[in-house]
């Protein structure tokens, strides 16, 4: 039998029993769409997390006040009951041989006023180093000046969103605005690069760390970002930092160091679980589709007994008959899978247009996997009924059911 004839023969069958066809198409499509959707979302979540935390870079450490074991659970986001990390500590850290850059960070919400507009804006106190470590770039103006950490200069940089809120479309560079009780001159506008580490730089103000100490009336650092010098190992840097801090804090080990690996490790379990459940759900839904295909094919074989006998009488071999039923099931699975792929991508696209910040992308393995599982399951489950049809003795098949035509 030529493939074109096989195709039209099968299509004739499928369109004639449209309800049955629709059900199988639906089942297969749902299965395949589920695989794409779930893996798409899972992959999106994974990328989201990676993008968030890879901003830190492999060679960056974050130091927090307070001691917490980094194994198990997320590291503490706020320090408590420990000695402050001072600006002098930060300066000393940067002098370590294994550290190339150290940036202090104090953060808080501050009341910001410009020309009568009043906004609460997340304000970061840090140094010029922060821009290097976080790889922030400027749209306009210049970065924080390279001044001693203790000097509170009245300058600030502003994120594009905060700028739009406060200044509208007016010129911001060079303008004076009030943060808390103090006045600051805008010297730069930060390039927008979206969310990072849960902090939206575009919605923030950046000022010298000493100024932030005054505004928020705090001494200790909220965090310290540390970049390991190229050529030094993470391990070496870590122990040098711990030793230094212990010495400076009177023998007390009261800081926590976290790395990207530790952070990502915390998410790893969740992501693994997610992937696992994705696989399980997808597999179940496709196996359900497969069982449906098997049942339908069995029914089809018993309904078409006389036809099988006839086709054999007209010269179809057992192989031809098996091919006929297998290809019918495969055609159904293929059409269903294509519909599933179409609707799966459509839904992901819809989701992406609703939440643009969440990256969705179906990994190629999931696409090919879904397609081949759908076809494989169809072939597997249709094999039994197709072989049963192929084995039917022609005489009995002809007599099995006398067609009404």
């Amino acid at each position: 039998m030529r493939s074109a004839d096989l195709l039209s023969f099968n299509l004739r069958l499928l369109t004639r029993q449209w309800f049955r066809t629709l059900m199988i198409l639906l089942a297969t499509a749902v299965g395949v769409a589920a695989v794409l959707l779930l893996t798409g979302l899972g992959e999106g979540a994974r990328r989201f997390v990676l993008e968030e935390f890879s901003l830190l870079g492999q060679d960056t450490l974050i130091m927090l006040p307070g001691r917490k074991e980094t194994t198990g659970g997320l590291p503490p986001l706020t320090g408590e009951g420990s000695r402050d990390i001072t600006l002098a500590d930060v300066a000393a850290l940067e002098r370590l041989s294994s550290i190339s850059l150290a940036a202090p960070l104090i953060a808080g919400n501050a009341q910001v006023v410009y020309a009568g507009r009043n906004r609460e804006v997340m304000t970061l106190g840090t140094s010029a180093r922060f821009f290097e470590i976080r790889e922030l770039t400027l749209k306009q103006g210049r970065s924080l000046p390279l001044i001693p950490l203790e000097r509170a200069e009245a300058v600030c940089l502003i994120g594009p969103k905060a700028k739009a809120d406060l200044f509208g479309s007016a010129q911001a560079l060079g303008q004076w605005l009030r943060i808390g009780e103090r006045r600051f001159r805008v010297i730069g506008i930060i390039e927008d690069r979206g969310q990072s580490l849960g902090m939206d730089v575009s919605d923030q103000l950046i000022i010298p760390v000493a100024s932030a100490q005054q505004i928020f009336n705090v001494q200790g650092m909220f965090r310290v970002f540390l970049k390991v010098r190229p050529g030094s190992s993470m391990q070496q840097a870590r122990s040098e930092i711990i030793d230094l801090m212990q010495k400076r804090h009177g023998g007390e080990r009261d800081v926590t160091l976290i790395t990207q690996d530790a952070l990502l490790g915390a998410f790893d379990d969740i992501l693994k679980l997610l992937t696992l459940s994705v696989g399980a759900i997808a597999a179940i839904s496709l196996v359900v589709a497969g069982i449906l295909i098997m049942n339908i094919t069995l029914i089809s074989v018993s309904q078409r007994t006389a036809e099988i006998g006839l086709l054999k009488a007209l010269g179809a071999s057992s192989k031809d008959i098996r091919l006929l039923f297998l290809s019918e099931a495969m055609l159904l699975a293929l059409l269903g899978a294509l519909i599933g792929i179409g609707s799966g991508y459509a839904l992901l696209w819809l989701g992406h247009s609703l939440w643009p910040q969440f990256p969705v992308s179906v990994p190629l393995w999931a696409l090919l996997g879904a397609l081949s599982i759908a076809l494989g399951v169809a072939a597997l489950f249709a094999w039994l009924p197709a072989s049963r049809a192929a084995r039917l003795p022609p005489v009995e098949a002809l007599h099995g059911e006398v067609g009404h035509a």
Binding site: M1, R2, E307, A316, S317, V395, A405
Partner: protein, 245 residues
């Protein structure tokens, strides 16, 4: 063309064994017109299915065109059915979702004939059997006689050597019966070997060679005079047949 030697087929039904074919010996020459007449259950269909390679004997030998059938595998037998044998059944066995043309086309579709080559063959046959108007009709839109003619067209589309008809008129009124039988006889006149199975002596009598069957055995045989004389001058004989009637 066909030789059966001691062919046996036994069915076991609930402890009872039925000898559907009981040590059957039979030879059929190419171009013959045979009928097998017998009461229901005498083994006629079983014989026809054996001859048509639809069934396999329990014992005995079957030679079809000098080929020992028992040595063929399933695929070879299927190919032989497709090329050399045409079937006509009492219940027509048309596929009801396919129109007349597509039903006739099936043997060509199964052997992989390209559509371009199929078309003229079918057109010619449709015209010959007066079915052009019904080419696109589904079986349920056709009368019994028309359906059987479609079935006959399907049986001969591959120009087989052997045409096997199992009660071809069993579901038809006498007028359609006549038409169908005449069509079969016309095909026989063109050289195709025709075997008609029937329980109706009136139909059976028309064959040149008539076999009576009972309980899986041949109980009698009748040969027309001309047939006994030799199998040449077929045209003439057909003429004399008509004269007799």
């Amino acid at each position: 063309m066909i030789r059966l030697e001691q062919l046996c087929k036994t069915y076991h039904l609930g402890g009872e064994s039925v000898h559907a074919l009981d040590h059957m010996d039979l030879a059929i020459a190419a171009g013959d017109y045979l009928s097998v007449i017998g009461p229901s259950g005498s083994g006629k269909s079983t014989l026809l299915n054996m001859l048509g390679l639809l069934d396999t004997p329990d014992s005995g030998e079957y030679w079809l065109e000098e080929q020992q059938v028992s040595l063929l595998n399933e695929e070879q037998r299927a190919a032989l059915r497709n090329q050399r044998i045409g079937f006509v059944f009492q219940a027509y066995h048309l596929i009801d979702r396919l129109n007349a043309r597509e039903n006739i086309e099936l043997p060509l579709v199964l052997n992989g004939t390209p559509p371009k080559l199929r078309r003229p063959l079918i057109d010619e046959l449709l015209q010959r059997l007066g079915l052009e108007k019904h080419a696109l009709h589904l079986p349920h839109q056709l009368s019994g006689g028309q359906r059987q003619r479609v079935a006959i067209a399907r049986a001969v589309i591959r120009k087989p050597a052997l045409l096997l008809a199992d009660e071809p008129t069993g579901n038809l009124d006498s007028h359609s019966s006549n038409e169908v039988i005449e069509l079969l006889e016309e095909l026989n006149g063109e050289g195709i070997t025709l075997l008609v199975v029937t329980h109706d002596p009136k139909i059976g009598e028309r064959a040149h060679r008539r076999l009576w069957m009972q309980d899986g055995r041949l109980t009698g045989e009748n040969l027309d005079a001309e047939s006994r004389e030799g199998r040449t001058g077929r045209k003439d004989r057909k003429g004399s047949d008509d004269a007799q009637r």
